[in-house]
Structure formats: C-alpha cells, structure tokens
Amino acid sequence: MIRPVIPLVTAALLFGLGAYGVLRRRNAVLVLMSVELMLNAVNLVLVTGDTMRERVTGQVFALFVIVIAAAEVGVGLALVLRLFRLRQDINIDQVALDDEPRTGPPFAAPALADARSGAAAGAPTLDGEQA
C-alpha cells in the first residue's frame, strides 16, 4: 500500500518553488529552469493519478508534457541566445517589448566576466556569437 498524498505534496511544493522561481529570477535561463520545475510537478501529479486509478492515461499525458517541454526549451533557448546576441545580457527585466538592438559595436567589453558578476578572474565565459 502506498499513500499517494506523498508524491502529491511533493508535486505541490515543487510547483510552488517553480512559481517562486519564475517570479523571483531575473536571468532568462533560470526562469526557464523554474518553468521546468513546474512542468515536472504537473507530471508527477499526472503519474500519481495513474497509480490511484490504475490506468495509463496520466502517463501518456506526462509523456506529452515532457515532449512539449523539450520543444519549449528549444525555442526558449533560441530566444535567449538571440537576446544575448542583441544585448550581451539575458536579464529579462531590461527587455522592453519594443526594444531596439543596442547600437554601437556589439562586443563592448562588459559582455564577459564583468565587474557585476563578482567572479574570480579568468572565470570561463564565452560570448554567444562565436559558438
């Protein structure tokens, strides 16, 4: 015998964490990660539902969600890289919807490990264009 409430509560907490992350995070990739957490919470609920009803419909839906998540990440990351190319930054607070590409040379110095990052010298960073 198992108690389905355990995975369900896990899923609820994961969903809450994901929602928190989406609202809290400023970095676009981190927002995407939080979205993944929420999607996973939903998957967990779907699979737990299967266990309670002894069917596989929930699993099928979970598979669909996983596939959609993969597609979403693909497009989302393409957007993020595009954004990084245009602005040298993926801070979503700084993106206005009618934003024009930043003028001037696209590779101004602060693109890499800049003062704000507070990273150790020589921290590995690359710019997107060269990849």
Binding site: M1, I2, R3, P4, V5, I6, P7, L8, V9, A11, A12, L13, L14, G16, L17, G18, A19, Y20, V22, L23, R24, R26, V29, L30, M33, S34, E36, N40, N43, V47, D50, T51, M52, E54, T57, V60, L63, F64, I66, V67, I68, A69, A71, E72, V73, G74, V75, L77, A78, V80, D89, I90, F107, R116, S117, A119, A123, P124, T125, E129
Partner: protein, 180 residues
C-alpha cells in the same frame, strides 16, 4: 507507512531540496546541476509509482537533453564561477505567490487524499502505454509531432544569424554583419 511510503518521502524530500536549491542558488551553473538532482528525483518517484517508461523518458529527455541544453545556454551566455549578484528580483511577491500556490495545493492534497491508500502499483510495461498512445491518444500524438516540427523550425529561424546587411546599410548594421 510502508517501505514504498518511506522511499517516496525520502526521494520527494530530495526533489524538493533540489528545487529549493534551483530557485535560491546564486550560482548560475549550479542551478542547472541542482535541476538535474530535482528532475532525477522526480524520475525516481515515477519509478516508485510504477511508471517505468515515463521515468526513463524523463531521464532521457529532461536530464539528457533539456538540462544539457540549459547548461549549454548558460555557458554560452555568461557563467562566472561563484556568486552572481543580479539574479534575483525583489522577494516578496514571488514568495507570496510561490508559498500560496505551493502550500495551498499541498494543503488541498492533504485534505483530499490525506489518509487515502492505494495498492502498490506493479511495474508497468511499455506495452500499455504504447496501446494508449497509439489508440486513444493518437490524434494528440500527431498534433504533438507537428508542434515539435514547428518548434524545431522556429528554433532554427530564431538562432540563425540575420541575413547579411545590404550594401547601403548604416554603419551600425555593417558592424553587426561583419561581427558574425
């Protein structure tokens, strides 16, 4: 509490702890690695719930592909070792919404299914899922394929460098074109 309950709780705790680390860590790449922990724990939950196929799909797509893509993107953009200070927005609204949705849902689940018990599931086979996907859900499946194709094309279009700037373009556009 049976053995499965204990395992589910432990793995659930790992998943939640991983999730907490994902949304609170100040280190970009570590967030991605913690996401591996959280998603892997969810996959183990799937296993414990008898959804073996879904568990391995989760590992294959999420851990193997999605997280790699995310890490790839993080490293392509800006991934200093150590803490970044500009990752977060003000905490209050996010905390409110997150706690309300998470704890509210949790309370709801506890209230509805608190003492509910079901027999431990047998390990499912891929056959039942295949029957289901290609039986009842074949139309959504096909729609999903089209969605994937559209996403693929969209991602390619988005990440393609812009067409080379025309001859009479402004200096700015030329500078951009030459940098590619």
């Amino acid at each position: 509490m049976t053995l499965q309950d204990v395992l589910l709780s432990v793995v659930g705790l790992v998943a939640v702890a991983g999730g907490v680390a994902v949304v609170t860590t100040k280190q970009l790449v570590r967030a991605g690695l913690w996401l591996v922990v959280a998603l892997g724990a969810v996959a183990v939950e799937f296993l414990l719930l008898g959804a073996e196929f879904a568990a391995w799909v989760q590992v294959l797509i999420y851990v193997g592909a999605v997280v790699v893509l995310l890490l790839f993107a993080v490293m392509l953009t800006r991934a200093p070792i150590g803490r970044s200070s500009d990752l977060d927005r003000p905490a209050l609204p996010a905390t409110l919404v997150g706690a309300a949705s998470g704890l509210g849902l949790a309370a709801l689940f506890v209230g509805v299914f608190g003492q509910f018990q079901v027999p431990a599931p047998a390990v499912g086979t891929a056959e039942r899922i295949g029957d289901s996907v290609f039986g009842a859900w074949v139309l959504p499946f096909e729609v999903l394929s089209i969605l994937l194709l559209a996403a693929l094309v969209g991602a390619i279009v988005l990440s393609r460098p812009a067409a080379p700037a025309p001859q009479d373009a402004s200096a700015d556009a030329v500078a951009q074109g030459s940098s590619r």
